[in-house]
């Protein structure tokens, strides 16, 4: 206020006018900057509106590489999605977190993720549910250290590598730690986040990390080395079977394109069932993509504990554990909170 007083009594009228004009200029520049910030929004809106119906339904699917994703490769090889009237736009994404973010931002229609990351999103209010199960694979905590036979043998100097905080591996470790050490987060201070290949390389070099919580084919490779053994398996940690990944579909896609949604579920079910029953035929189709020999691919496909199935297992059990141990803040009232109507039938009795 004092400033204005000084301005008003000052004789320099021209200066004041000039100052006001400059103030306007500055305001205009700021407004322009804001407009630039907001402009992409309207662009985003217009692309959403223009997604019109077409003879071949378009669907955007996020994928990663690995044996777990074999059903998608099979569907591509055998053109199963096209057979069901779908035209798939594949989105290659680097990490689970990137897939979640792409789904939330509406950049993909379907993504595959572990049950814990799905529940973390659900807990935060992301409008998505499970459409299908996406296979089961063995997951193992592997070490080269002979003196480590159970979780109680880890000390504060040891490091455990797993793909990321909040991953299936992290929660399985939490479940086992809860049972054996009394606290689900007892080993959290030992965690190192590493992608599967990096973790495998570090464990093989015996530098930095003590143990690696990983999936096939990395787990198989590690266990084939002399002296490497599993401290913990997914079955021991979870106490039963569960879906390693689930196919997650956003409410936006489910509600606005029911036809494409049904076609997607049917196509994926067909691909999954074909792979489970034709592993011999599938191995040569998959071997080049995984850069493995046909024999090795076949061995991995038929490994004990590998199931290619759309059945959904373990959702509520994960949710209860995560809720009771502070990983999520809300507890789903029932399975219907977590799965779309078709997937209710995919949950075997007693394996919620």
């Amino acid at each position: 206020m004092r400033l204005i007083g000084i301005e008003a009594t000052s004789p320099g009228g021209d200066g004041q006018w000039w100052a006001r004009k400059r103030l306007f200029a500055e305001a205009a520049v700021i407004a322009l900057a804001l407009a630039v910030l907001i402009a992409p929004t309207s662009a985003l809106l217009s692309t959403r509106v223009s997604a019109a119906r077409q003879p071949l339904e378009k669907i955007r699917i996020a994928q990663q590489f690995g044996l777990v994703y074999a059903p998608l490769s099979i569907a591509r090889e055998l053109e199963i999605f096209e057979k069901h009237g779908l035209q798939v736009e594949w989105r290659q994404l680097g990490s689970g977190a990137a897939i979640n973010e792409a789904l939330i931002a509406g950049q993909v229609d379907v993504g595959f993720m572990g049950i814990p990351p799905f529940l973390i999103g659900w807990d935060k209010g992301v409008p998505w549910k499970v459409a299908v199960g996406f296979g089961e694979v063995p997951i193992m905590l592997i070490t080269y250290r002979k003196d480590i036979k159970s979780l109680t043998d880890f000390t504060s100097k040891d490091r455990i590598a797993l793909p990321s905080p909040g991953s299936v591996q992290h929660l399985l470790l939490g479940m086992a730690a809860r049972r054996e050490l009394g606290n689900a987060k007892a080993l959290d201070s030992l965690l190192v986040a590493m992608a599967h290949p990096d973790g495998m390389a570090a464990l093989l070099a015996r530098r930095g990390i003590t143990a690696h919580f990983t999936t096939p084919p990395y787990a198989f490779e590690l266990l084939s080395q002399p002296g490497f053994h599993a401290v913990l398996t997914d079955r021991q940690a979870f106490g039963g079977r569960f879906s390693f990944n689930v196919g997650v579909v956003t409410k936006q896609f489910h509600d606005s394109r029911p036809q494409a949604y049904r076609q997607f579920v049917a196509a994926l079910t067909e691909a999954m069932n074909w792979l489970e029953t034709h592993k011999k035929e599938a191995a040569p189709l998959l071997a080049p993509e995984f850069n493995l020999s046909v024999e090795k691919t076949y061995a991995y496909l038929t490994w004990p504990g590998v199931h290619y199935t759309v059945e959904v297992r373990g959702l509520m059990k994960f949710a209860r554990f995560m809720y009771e141990n502070g990983f999520i803040r809300n507890m789903p009232a029932s399975l219907d909170d977590l799965v779309w109507e078709n997937a209710r039938a995919l949950v075997p009795p007693g394996e919620e």
Binding site: I38, S189, A193, M194, A205
Partner: protein
């Protein structure tokens, strides 16, 4: 009397221009711009055109920052990061002084230091992280090593440039005053090259900070001993996006504090007091 009158008018003029310029000073303008951007952010988030989970409100971010400070986690992580960076910068300074001393003291080794500088300076610290992980093991030691690596080169370069920029006349005056080796270095060379050294320290700090955070995010150090990078990384996977932004705000706050308080004070106490820098 005339002098006093003149002083009075000048004072009055200064006061008036100070008043008029308060809103037009550079700092005030920067703050105004930041407020505009903040308001734009809040408005855009409230319009919820983008999914709120990916684009949280600024007010939520600030509230999260306060909560995280209260529970202490963000402060513990900040402390860990600062510890790493301070250790790294201190080690880098020691190594750089040794390197600069060798380069200037032992003539035949000068090309070696220059060659290392030319070859390794352009290499970002984060790019050597995979190798350091194999050499030093995952976690704190590797992150510290990359921080040291990324801090050394700007320091060495600035030390050398500073020492070489000391005018011959100043050295000759020192010699004429009877200063020999140690005292010549202490009383002439070091003070005269200090502006360069400070600039190098600034660069080293900035690079160290960036490298530490990036290193922790790319190879996520470890839950027990992780800094702000690990904090941001972890929260991202739990979709706690306001906390991710809070971590970024913390980095900004530390950056501003160090730039203006630590380096500002250092400069005021040395080069500006000695009249070597005209920087305002």
């Amino acid at each position: 009397m005339r002098l006093i009158n003149e002083a009075r008018t000048r004072l009055a003029l200064m006061a008036r221009s100070w008043g008029q310029n308060l809103l037009r000073t550079h700092l005030a303008r920067q703050v105004a711009w930041l407020m505009a951007v903040a308001a734009g952010w809040e408005a855009l988030a409230r319009a919820s055109v983008y999914p709120p989970i990916l684009f949280p409100r600024l007010s939520d971010v600030l509230a999260t920052l306060v909560t995280e400070m209260r529970t202490g986690e963000i402060l513990a992580r900040t402390g860990w990061s600062l510890g790493t960076i301070c250790t790294g910068v201190a080690l880098a300074v020691a190594i750089s002084i040794a390197a600069a001393g060798i380069a200037l003291g032992i003539r035949p080794l000068r090309p070696l230091v220059d060659a290392l500088l030319n070859v390794l300076h352009p290499l970002p610290g984060i790019a050597v992280l995979p190798i350091f992980l194999l050499w030093f093991g995952t976690g704190a030691p590797a992150v510290l090593a990359v921080v040291v690596f990324s801090c050394i080169w700007p320091m060495v370069q600035n030390l050398l440039a500073g020492l070489e920029a000391v005018p011959r006349t100043q050295i000759e005056v020192g010699r004429n005053l009877g200063l020999r080796r140690a005292r010549l270095i202490l009383f002439v060379l070091i003070p005269a090259s200090l502006p360069y050294a400070l600039a190098g320290l600034r660069l080293a700090w900035a690079r160290g900070w960036q490298t530490a955070v990036a290193g922790e995010m790319v190879f996520g150090a470890g839950g027990g001993d992780g800094g702000l990078g690990w904090f941001i990384y972890k929260r991202r996977f739990f979709l706690e996006i306001p906390a991710v932004f809070a971590g970024m705000l913390m980095i900004i706050i530390i950056g501003i504090l160090v730039e203006h308080v630590v380096f500002g004070t250092l400069e005021r106490l040395t080069v500006r007091r000695w009249g070597m820098s005209r920087a305002e």
